[in-house]
Symmetry: C2
Subunit: 481 residues, 2 copies
């Protein structure tokens, strides 16, 4: 009886609210074609080879990032996109200098180091000091005021690979705010164990934040960036094997000393920008389904995985839709390639300001590499749920788990367009993402063409079903904290 009641409820539930607004059979048939064309297409892979070979790294605010915008605008035109445009904005320009680190006691050992983005600088001759190790971020927070006076802090941690990337959230504070906290307690330099998950001897850069030190700290003088709450000190990341070596040296009990040379510099304002291109909607062109990635990258690799992959996934998916539906889907598909994401989401901020009044229906950003998508989650209004389920049904044969998680959708560049715009997240497998993330190893050879094509297929399907629809995906529930 109880089971029977549940069964009846399930049978009856779907038609009551889902059936009227699910995609029609023609839209699903087209989505299925797009899926199969996507997995068979090498458009994304060829675009990524071109971007990494002909442009290479694209550090925010540099001439290299500008060449990336030119590349993107030309490729968008060649792919047949319309309204192709570049929207420029100013960003702080920070460039890398000399970077070396060595243990000077108890035994000389050279270390592989790289400056964190927005690191302060040592003198050209470097600094040499005793090192204090913190086994965890909490230990650093608990250190007494002044306890690091004249010292270099080594911020250790225990990040391991996770498929969903959650260990980056769990340990990321070590990089995001660890250096500013160490500075607030008197440190003259900081090295962190890289936020990396394999044993490659490369250091992982990434921006560190001088504005949000926890607990709040006063400015202590020295060089300052606009709006900074604490003056930047030299802050670098050691490779994971060098983090191991530091642990082994500290395990011997005696003092450990380090010489650190990091000479990056702020160079005033640079120019960044977003690149935008569209497949105009055939009957509701003012309604926008936004897909994108970020065009800037760190300077150590060629920005293949972070986030060349996201750039080409969005471009190739839109191209497939245009080829399949020359009159366009009902709504406009807008591809946005954001600038200056890495140094603080500035492209997303600029886009949000400029396009605040437009009708964004649904948005997706790809910024987690090029490994296969393994699940789709959403943050959409109830009216959008049946379409999300239809997307999941079409994509299940690609090994993409359907989920009912409607509390997770979005991307780092998407928040500024408004918390109530519908969002999907197509989750790439992140098991190996933090092997490569922000390192010299972020190069084209790391990308598997079949996995990249699966991404293109998934973006084409989801984008099509959202764009060739008249259902509302917003207002979405608030993002999950």
């Amino acid at each position: 009886m109880f089971k029977r009641a549940l069964f009846l409820a399930a049978v009856l539930a779907a038609p009551v609210w889902a059936a009227p607004v699910a995609p029609d059979a023609a839209a699903v048939a087209t989505a299925t074609k797009l899926r199969d064309q996507g997995v068979a297409s090498d458009t994304g892979y060829q675009l990524l080879e071109s971007l990494t070979t002909e442009v290479g790294q694209r550090l925010a605010g540099t001439e290299a990032e500008a060449r990336g915008r030119d590349w993107a605008a030309k490729k968008m035109q060649a792919l047949g996109f319309t309204n192709v445009r570049i929207e420029e904005f100013k960003v702080p320009l920070w460039v890398r200098g000399v970077e070396t680190a060595e243990v000077t006691a108890p035994t000389p050992q050279r270390l592989v180091v790289t400056a964190l983005g927005h690191s302060g600088a040592t003198p050209a001759a470097g600094i040499e000091a005793e090192v204090v190790r913190f086994a965890s971020f909490d230990d650093l927070v608990a250190a007494p005021a002044g306890s690091l006076n004249g010292k270099i802090a080594f911020l250790d941690h225990y990040m391991k690979p996770t498929q969903d990337g959650s260990s980056y959230g769990a340990f990321g504070a070590v990089r995001f705010v660890g250096p500013s906290i160490a500075a607030s307690k008197g440190a003259i330099g900081v090295v962190i164990r890289s936020l990396g998950t394999n044993d490659a001897r490369v250091a992982h850069t990434g921006v560190t934040d001088w504005e949000n030190a926890l607990p709040a700290v006063p400015v202590t003088g020295g060089s300052k960036v606009v709006g900074a709450k604490i003056a930047p000190i030299p802050a670098g990341a050691l490779s994971v094997p060098d983090g191991d070596l530091m642990r082994q040296l500290f395990a011997r009990g005696g003092p450990v000393r380090m010489k650190l040379v990091l000479t990056p510099a702020f160079k005033g304002d640079g120019v960044s920008g977003n690149v935008i291109g569209e497949i105009p909607g055939r009957s509701a062109p003012d309604e926008i389904v936004l897909i994108g990635g970020h065009l800037d990258s760190w300077d150590l690799g060629t920005g293949a995985v972070d986030d060349g992959a996201g750039v080409v996934i969005a471009m190739a998916a839109a191209k497939l839709i245009k080829a399949q539906a020359p009159q366009g889907p009902r709504r406009t598909v807008r591809v946005v390639l954001f600038g200056a994401e890495e140094i603080g989401g500035m492209g997303g901020d600029d886009y949000g300001k400029r396009h605040a009044g437009e009708k964004h229906v649904l948005a997706m950003e790809s910024d987690f590499g090029a490994d296969r998508i393994w699940k789709i989650t959403s943050r959409v209004a109830d009216t959008g749920i049946p379409t999300v389920r239809a997307m999941q049904r079409v994509l299940a044969p690609l090994g993409i788990n359907p989920t009912t998680d409607n509390a997770n959708g979005g991307g780092s560049d998407l928040a500024p367009i408004g918390p109530t715009v519908g969002m999907l997240t197509l989750h790439q497998d992140g098991t190996h993402y933090f092997d490569l993330h922000h390192t010299p190893d972020d190069t084209f050879d790391k990308v598997d063409p079949a996995q990249l094509a699966q991404n293109v297929a998934a973006y084409a399907v989801t984008t099509w079903l959202a764009a060739d629809s008249d259902v509302a995906f917003g207002p979405a529930p608030a993002p999950k904290k």
Copy 2:
């Protein structure tokens, strides 16, 4: 009938020649104990942690290599070895300088580069020139005289991983003599695709030879090393991903230009040395079973895999034998840790000269990393074959293939003690060896303790059975060409 005859022949064959000289049951029983103790022991792993943490890299001729000798002598004494001594000799001292490479046309791209050992130097400001790509060593050899005047040569190749390491032999000429050949045809600089087999963005160093250019070439002036037949030019290795990028740039057809800065220098004579320790034989102490590895390393990593592993395998195996047989085996076990192998086998040469008159019975050198041993081959007199078979039977449970290959035994430091001394080779699995070889990635974390312990077990078993024996292993057949 035919099958039965074969069967009888097999049954009868073994006793006819093998039984009289095979190890006795007691020796085999001890060998079996040593095997089981070896796989359960962490002595080798702890020694390797100590060497890489407390000494680190050990470039031939430097103060760091000298600290390595002190470390080894102290550890040998602590392990209870006797006749512990250091035998010093002079070597050319070559040290690394600044090393950067960048493509300047058709598009700016920074490359990961490292100088090959004994590379010449560019001016501090570097050189900038058009690059000529050679898809193979043969193509380089075929290039006309003078065809590289004023150019930088890029020596490409197609090395892939092999379990037996044979691809290093097949493509190694690119590094060993490629630069001297390019110089002889007028090149002002050379970059090779690293002799590497994975996609890590690290460059693989290793010595290059200016004395054996093929075809023979005249000295063209400039800086010279003693005995050089051609003056060194700047010679570096690009990481494998950068080799891929170069290929992609050349595939576009236009000219490729490069700026190269390599400022290594020869610094006259340095001191190297071999470290020797023994487990004296109880009844035939003048008969020597030699086991060893090389103590020097390249300077980019900490020399964990090449050849800290060989060093600690030999030390730990001898220690196990001493603990198991406090009076020693019949013959002396001599552990030799060679210096200056990487820059031309100078430790082996010095050892061969000093110890020419001694009775070396059998020799083994471990210099192929720390992955599991998968086969044993030999180069011994017929009288030694039954003992080799006994070794193989004891070790088969560790996944070590018995083979009948008696044409392969030896090691790069062993040739100088005489071509007729019996030799074994315990073959480590080399599938991943050239991922790490001569790179910054050659660090302790890359070594698996269980695989290292399997090596220790195999060396203990083979060393014991050879040392607690009175059979002759020489004169051995000539080494296979």
